[in-house]
Point group: C2
Chain length 321, copies 2
């Protein structure tokens, strides 16, 4: 097992990941909209990772970790702490391989998230909604089960897996001037950097972040990791801070980080629902929000946007709240 | 110009239509969901006609009519009466060819529908919301403009165009046991019959209809066209009655018509939004609603479902009303 705190995944790791996970993920389609092209003056390509069976790109990294385990470790399964898409995607991948998946989740997490993890066979251990309780609980679960810890993003296997999305994106579009993805912990952005810095070094990579959780933006400007305590934004997939591995990729390969306000994110989300006719979550709308806010940066360009996830509470859509 | 009241379109007309419209429409993708397969016990293939640029399969028939006009008629353009997807799709096709499109629409039609037609360059003439006013107004508009009347469904060019969807569906799935589509006036179902009766005669065709607008169901059982006065259902794309051409196909090639209640349609719509993560309108949910209601008919079968359209008011979703 490689040490996830030290090892920086390579382009070859990404290629191996793609071969490993191809039978278990979808090669998601690209959607375009003449209307949104006209509105932005750019040629926009949306990669629909919300169309993965469990609804998010995180199935790529999770599958790479799960299907890369040797038989002895696989028997003990995997473990993680997450209340979001990583928990359900890791459970889904573990279900496909038929191995245990233990998830530590705050007891306050939405019932729908718990239901999804359980539907995929994940076993939930609840903790209090605090960092200390989560860490204590997770240490206990891991000691009891021997499950391999798969971090939501700060893990080379996960980053190599997320990088497979950018490889498909290049193959499906014959090249892009820019690629935008939302940034939270930085897993998707890091995978994108990993792949494009070798495969398409001329393509600029821009991270898009909510103004109300702009720790990556401030880290990028400062030159070191800044982590916020408890940011609040409608883009609830993007609340976590950068870690050493993802900071490596952000610091070395990201061209810029742009931010958008929550109302701008909601407007962009509604535009995508209306004109692309896909269901995606607020976090995935941040890139379009930043394009609409900075039109001169994108006009006339071929722009790829990763629609990262599609798990949203249909009874509580942001524009109806 | 062929007489739309008499001429029954052929398989060759459909093939010619596909060649004519291919540059102007999308070859829409198929979506699947392991979860919905498990729920129904069937293998479901959803053809995403909601992903057409103007958001509905009707761009196929409209494009076939518009791009089939000779130069003299094209100069005078096209005309129709519709307050739904046909109006916007005909305007869109006319815009692509650069010819006039006149649409007669009740003044009470939703503002969003009028806005879409105008965005595509369609010229709206408003009438009172009555059949007599619509007919009078349309006759005047047609006399003034000389625009070629493109009926929303009772037109052989339109039916041949809609039939191109089933051709792609067969090509993309390697064959299906059953195909389901919603039925209103019967344009999509007729096109499906036209194509499959030659290309895949072993595939059964089932029409799905709202209980609250079940005139096609009653016509099918009675053996002649029954038209209702003003049916009311959440599936507002399916309010119109069969006409002679579509009745021909329904009577000769449809295996069965199944119905579902409005609450069942809304439940099915929400399932599709949640698990396929596509935005589609209530009318397009009727097939899945009938499958969930008649599981024994579909269990173990390969079932194609046409998601006919994706134009829905995001501020007034049926489960939030």
């Amino acid at each position: 097992m490689k040490d996830s705190a030290m090892y920086i995944p390579t382009y070859e790791d990404m290629l191996a990941a793609h071969e490993r996970i191809a039978p278990h993920i979808r090669r998601t389609p690209i959607r375009t909209s003449a209307y949104l092209n006209e509105l932005t003056g750019a040629e926009l390509f949306f990669k629909c990772e919300n169309f993965q069976e469990p609804g998010a790109f995180k199935v790529r990294g999770a599958s790479n970790a799960v299907f890369g385990l040797d038989a002895a470790q696989a028997a003990k399964g995997v473990a993680t702490h997450s209340s979001g898409n990583h928990a359900s995607c890791l459970s889904y991948a573990a279900m496909l391989r038929g191995i245990p998946c233990n998830v530590v989740m705050p007891r306050t997490a939405p019932q729908a998230k718990k239901d999804t993890v359980r539907r995929y066979g994940g076993k939930i251990t609840e903790c209090e909604p605090s960092t200390s309780s989560r860490e204590e609980t997770f240490a206990r679960v891991q000691a009891e089960t021997g499950g391999d810890f798969v971090h939501p993003y700060n893990d080379p296997r996960v980053i190599a897996g997320q990088g497979t999305c950018a490889k498909e994106f290049v193959e499906q579009t014959d090249g892009l001037d820019l690629v935008l993805a939302p940034i939270g912990g930085g897993g998707m952005i890091s995978g994108t950097c990993l792949t494009l810095s070798t495969l398409a070094p001329e393509t600029r990579i821009i991270a898009a972040e909510p103004e109300q959780a702009d720790d990556a933006y401030r880290s990028f400007k400062a030159g070191y990791i800044i982590a916020d305590d408890a940011p609040k934004t409608i883009a609830d997939g993007l609340l976590v801070p950068l870690k050493d591995l993802t900071w490596h990729f952000v610091a070395n390969h990201v061209s810029d980080i742009l931010t958008a306000s929550d109302p701008e994110i909601i407007d962009a989300m509604k535009l995508i629902w209306k004109h692309l006719r896909v269901v995606m979550e607020p976090s995935s709308a941040v890139p379009l929000a930043t394009i609409l806010k900075n039109p001169e940066t994108f006009r006339g360009k071929r722009v790829g946007i990763v629609l990262t996830g599609g798990n949203v509470d249909l009874d509580r859509l942001p524009w109806t709240l």
